[in-house]
Amino acid sequence: MPNETMLSRRGLLMKLGILFNGLVATALAVPIVGYVLSSVTRGRANAYLAWVPLGRVDEFPESETRLATFRNPNVMPTDGKTADTACWVRRIEGDQFQVFAVNCAHLGCPVRWFPQSGLFMCPCHGGAYYRDGSRASGPPERGLFEYGYQVKDGLIAIQAGELPTPGASAALVRIGKMPPCA
């Protein structure tokens, strides 16, 4: 005799079917979400960063700032030219360097170095920086991003691999050996 509080056989089977689908969907969601977020999870603990050689120290004259380029340490075949990156290398003296990202600390446009006035200028919104990378004027809220560097056997290498962005810069700056006085 049908009872309103009783679950019919078909009703139960349908609910079980929905539950079964829910379980399968959840089980599938784990690898899918893992795949979608893989670029985030891999980036934790600075796994993208690596030491990248820039060249011989004597390629960079003392008290001058030169543009150097390097290939990003994590490269895919489809990256093409985009895996090449530029940076500004300032050799203060001897083994003392400062290596700046070309990306403006405002919104990431490429800054250009003007040796005559000793300024980095950004073409986008007019940010300007002094030769030591500190902020001179314009919208940036901070100085240029700096790569950590090391000098070994006459070669300079920087710790690179991530696009520096103003909100997430903490991980990129102040790693590795820094000059005692900028």
């Binding site: 380029t69 994590n74 489809t78 090449d84 003007f114 006035s117 002094y130 691999g161 696009l163 962005t165």
Partner: protein, 490 residues
């Protein structure tokens, strides 16, 4: 019975679509909605279809790979027959689509169409606007050139400001640690699968509601919307003063849509495709990226906001704007529809239009960007050097060589980041000039470390000659007095 009719009946026996299609097309609409003001929605749909068709055609050649996208665009432009025209149609189609969607939104807002019972139609429309803008941005990325590359950097920089999640969002957006092949691939997936799929679904919902709820009647001043009575009133209106949508109103939609398509084609033919600009090689830093037309206002806003306000404005501003748009039908879901009796609504539209227009105009001039080549490219006007001393000429040289010209104009050439200096001697005394050059301030870098005392003296001597004829340079009166008291002539 003719053969075509027989075939038609054969299909309809199986599809059974003829009756519902006839019902839809002949549904009565209020007579006065058969107006040229009511054609923008259908025009947006037609341009969207054009975008789908041209998009598929472009996908026949385009390669969504960081290494090859740029050269495949060159192939489209130069090697494939009429490839440039399809690219131009798609690019101009996107500009027209953004414009028409915005005009449609303004019309719907001013005609009170978002009020009861069409709140959800409006909300779906807001999402359609966001998706259209999303298509515009992702499309700009697929044109994988220098502007696209650095534009992505700007997007990543903005996203990085999100508290706590910023770095994760940047890596999710870029598909890795840098802007590279994975970034392009995921923007391709967004532009070609994700957003268009959602757009098609939302357009169907939007249209379904327009059909179910009826087109918004022409607003009459004083005819107020009330939840209790609106449905009956609208029903009465369409019964008494209604006409079948086809053919009574549809001919205007057809003519306008065709004109818009013709305009897109004309622009494509005359102006050609957009870009691509330089190859997306991040080691080429001699570039000044600018966004596409519809994001120029944002580019201007980012230059003009005070630094401290930038992050809150960028992160909270859009959220508030979207919330206001979504909540609008709930905040004023009843009452007056006619724009003649809604002065605040009209003023809001005007204010937003003037603001966006002004920012877009300013972005075209970009007075905040230094002119990177002015120091070596723009000569000092001859008249400013006429009759000057050797020291002053030396100063003019320092002025050029130290890139002052990149931010300061002389004779209306040079940068506009800082004030024009044609009459700076009238504004600043000698001491003030020295202080300003050495210490900077007021958004000017300090040049103290980069100028020798001799260079500073020469530069200031030159700057002191910059005053209109017959107008004396500024002098410090107290200094003169002090010198007189001590017995020296100034």
């Amino acid at each position: 019975m003719r053969l075509t009719q027989k075939i038609g009946e054969w299909f309809d026996r199986r599809l059974q679509l003829a009756a519902p299609i006839r019902e839809i097309s002949e549904h009565p609409v209020p007579r006065n909605t058969a107006s040229w003001w009511y054609v923008f929605g259908s025009a947006a749909l037609v341009v969207f279809i054009l975008q789908i068709v041209t998009g598929i055609l472009l996908a026949l050649i385009y390669v969504p790979s960081g290494a090859e996208a740029w050269s495949s665009l060159q192939t489209l432009n130069h090697d494939v027959t009429l490839g440039w025209f399809i690219r131009a149609l798609h690019g101009w189609g996107s500009n027209f689509m953004v414009a028409i969607v915005l005009i449609h939104m303004v019309q719907v807002f001013l005609f009170g169409a978002y009020k009861f019972p069409r709140e959800l139609t409006w909300i779906v429309g807001v999402f359609l606007l966001l998706m259209t803008l999303g298509m515009a941005f992702t499309g700009q990325v697929l044109r994988f050139d220098q502007d696209a590359y650095w534009g992505l950097g700007i997007g990543a920089s903005i996203a990085s400001h999100v508290p706590i999640l910023g770095p994760a969002i940047v890596k999710l957006m870029l598909g890795g640690p840098i802007i590279a092949g994975a970034t392009l691939s995921r923007f391709f997936a967004l532009h070609v699968f994700v957003i268009p799929g959602m757009l098609i679904g939302f357009v169907c919902l939007h249209l379904l509601m327009v059909l179910k709820l009826g087109i918004n009647e022409w607003p009459m001043p004083g005819r107020l919307v009330r939840r209790a009575t609106y449905a009956n009133e609208y029903h009465e209106l369409t019964k008494k003063d209604g006409a079948p949508f086809v053919p009574y109103a549809v001919w205007k939609d057809l003519f306008f849509a065709a004109s818009i398509l013709l305009a897109v084609a004309a622009c494509a033919l005359y102006f050609g495709p957009f870009g691509p600009t330089g190859v997306p090689d991040p080691t080429i830093i001699q570039t000044a990226p600018k966004p596409d037309y519809f994001f120029l206002w944002l580019y201007a806003l980012l230059s003009l906001l005070p630094p401290a306000m930038e992050t809150p404005a960028l992160l909270i501003g859009p959220v508030i704007a979207i919330l206001v748009l979504l909540l609008l039908p709930f905040l004023s879901g009843e009452g007056e529809k006619s724009w003649r009796r809604r002065p605040i609504a009209v003023l809001t539209v005007l204010l937003i239009a003037v603001t966006l227009g002004t920012f877009t105009h300013l972005a075209g001039l970009a007075p905040w960007s230094p002119h990177m080549n002015a120091w070596s490219g723009d000569p000092v006007p001859m008249r400013l050097l006429h009759g000057t001393t050797a020291l002053e000429r030396r100063g003019a040289l320092v002025f050029q060589v130290k890139q002052c010209r990149n931010c300061h104009s002389l004779g209306e050439t040079g940068g506009q980041r800082g004030p024009a200096l044609d009459s700076v001697a009238v504004r600043l005394t000698q001491d003030q000039l020295v202080r300003q050059v050495i210490q900077g301030g007021g958004n000017m870098p300090a040049y103290g470390k980069n100028l020798s005392p001799a260079e500073t003296t020469a530069l200031v001597a030159f700057l002191e000659t910059l005053h209109p004829a017959g107008q004396a340079p500024a002098r410090d009166a107290s200094r003169d007095a002090a010198l007189r008291e001590s017995g020296n002539q100034p």
